[in-house]
């Protein structure tokens, strides 16, 4: 769905703007960690924190060259989690994690979750202030939107303060009619406020950035792509006042 690309580059855009940002790999497949740190499979991470109350957050934080940008990898305890399980199993631990993030002084915590709304992903959404939904601009993906909306409505019962920032269209191919039609159809279906204006294009730059373990904006020719995420950051900031701890979650 392009959620990992979105998470990494959006987090980087916030960090570049001076927002103390923590990017957390809450996907058991560990894509953020794999993308940005070569040793990520050896690091303790988010799932270790959930499994072991004795692990402090400080042990999990991986700094980057950008002072305002830090990471938490998925961790070693994530293997058993691939099945998802019932939402609610880790609610208390997820909330403990977010409290620790607040106490550590981060302004923004972005959690890149596994797809779906169950298991730990459900617990993360039930603990967050807001949710951003990456949606690949292709017909099959759009057809799953009603299920996603239903699931989010259920989770808002558990977490009434959850704000839905909107759907972000990702992997948009301007030169492919089906992709543009799908993007158009989604905008027709949903209220205007629920679809971000900024779209993430499918671009070889992202593959190159991922291969080098970097956010796309760091590449020599990445300014254009960085501008996309800067625009998205501005759009999100306009929706949501980012002061103090504001966890975001990508599903």
């Amino acid at each position: 769905m392009g959620k990992t690309t979105l998470s990494i580059n959006l987090a980087h855009a916030f960090a570049r703007a001076g927002v103390r940002t923590l990017l957390v790999d809450a996907d058991p497949q560990g894509s953020v960690g794999l993308s940005l740190t070569r040793q990520s499979r050896l690091l303790a991470g988010f799932y270790d924190f959930l499994a072991d109350p004795g692990i402090p957050l400080d042990r999990l934080i991986v700094p980057t060259r950008l002072e305002t940008f830090s990471l938490v990898a998925s961790g070693q305890a994530s293997d058993y989690e691939s099945g998802g399980g019932m939402a609610g199993s880790y609610l208390a631990r997820v909330r403990a994690f977010l409290r620790a993030v607040t106490a550590r002084g981060f302004d923004l915590c972005i959690l890149d979750t596994a797809a779906g709304l169950f298991g730990v992903t459900g617990d993360v959404i039930a603990s967050s202030d807001s949710v951003l939904i990456p949606q690949q601009a292709e017909p099959l993906g759009i057809r799953s939107v009603p299920k996603m909306l239903e699931g989010l409505n259920r989770l808002r019962v558990m977490n009434p303060r959850l704000s839905v920032l909107g759907v972000v269209l990702t992997m948009v191919q301007q030169d492919l009619a089906e992709s543009m039609e799908a993007a158009h159809a989604l905008r027709q279906l949903l209220p205007q406020d629920l679809v971000l204006q900024t779209m993430v294009p499918r671009d070889a730059l992202f593959v190159r950035a991922s291969a080098r373990g970097l956010p796309v904006g760091v590449l020599e020719d990445g300014h254009g792509a960085q501008a996309v995420f800067d625009a998205m950051r501005a759009e999100i900031e306009a929706k949501f006042d980012i002061r103090g701890h504001r966890p975001l979650v990508h599903g």
Binding site: A51, D52, P53, G85, M86, G88, S89, Y90, A92, R93, A96, R99, P139, I142, R143, V145, P146, L149, E150, L152, N153, R154, R156, V157, M158, P160, R161, L162, V164, E178, E181, A182, A185, L186, Q188, L189, L190, P191, D193, L194
Partner: protein, 239 residues
Amino acid sequence: MDPVHPWLDPIEVRRLAERLLLPVHEPAVQVTDAGFGEQFVGYSPVQPLGSLTAMQEAAPQPLVAVAIQPTPPPTPVVVQAPPPPPVPAPVEPPPVPQAVAIAQPEPEPVPVGIVAPAPRPEARGPFLDRVGRFRDWLHHHFDASGIFLLDREGAVIFDESGHGKLHFLARSLAVAARRPGGAPANVHVKVGAAATLEVIPVDTPYGCIVLGAVVPSPMEPAAVASVMDALRSVASPQG
């Protein structure tokens, strides 16, 4: 051919999406009296229920909550248990068990598929007497212990469990399981190797009352329905 619309109901999608933009009514649930520490992650299923404090300190275990529909099955109940003997109103308050007793020996558990008759409606008396008989009925027919009732504000109406944490858990589960506009649904969560906290919210003339009871295994839908009926009757001003 339109690649999207034939697979979707645009009106329904729009309705769901617009609901996401509306504020959600936040129920007033008091969480400050829960007594959970920041490290609380659920009850250990291997600990005996005799030591809830010890459970909190035990290694974290996943908490499994399952919501089932409260509607009874469409077929009639196969077997009816004999009516319980009339139970006098308790003269003194029941002893608060040190354990949420799974080790209580006497009560006969109701087999799967059997629905016990509710307490006799003719013997009404004051509210607390009715609650006492209802409790005895739950003890006898469902091997229930640690029974408590919470009112719509989450305040305790009746409690033999003595554990605020169970109240908090029940309150949270009842709120989480409630769908806007929908009927209340029961939820259960495993709190020990042979103990399940059954949470049954019931709409009554006095608002939603949440029943919490520790039972050996999750209750069948038919049993839940009979408990709901019984509690509704107990909480009604007139029989």
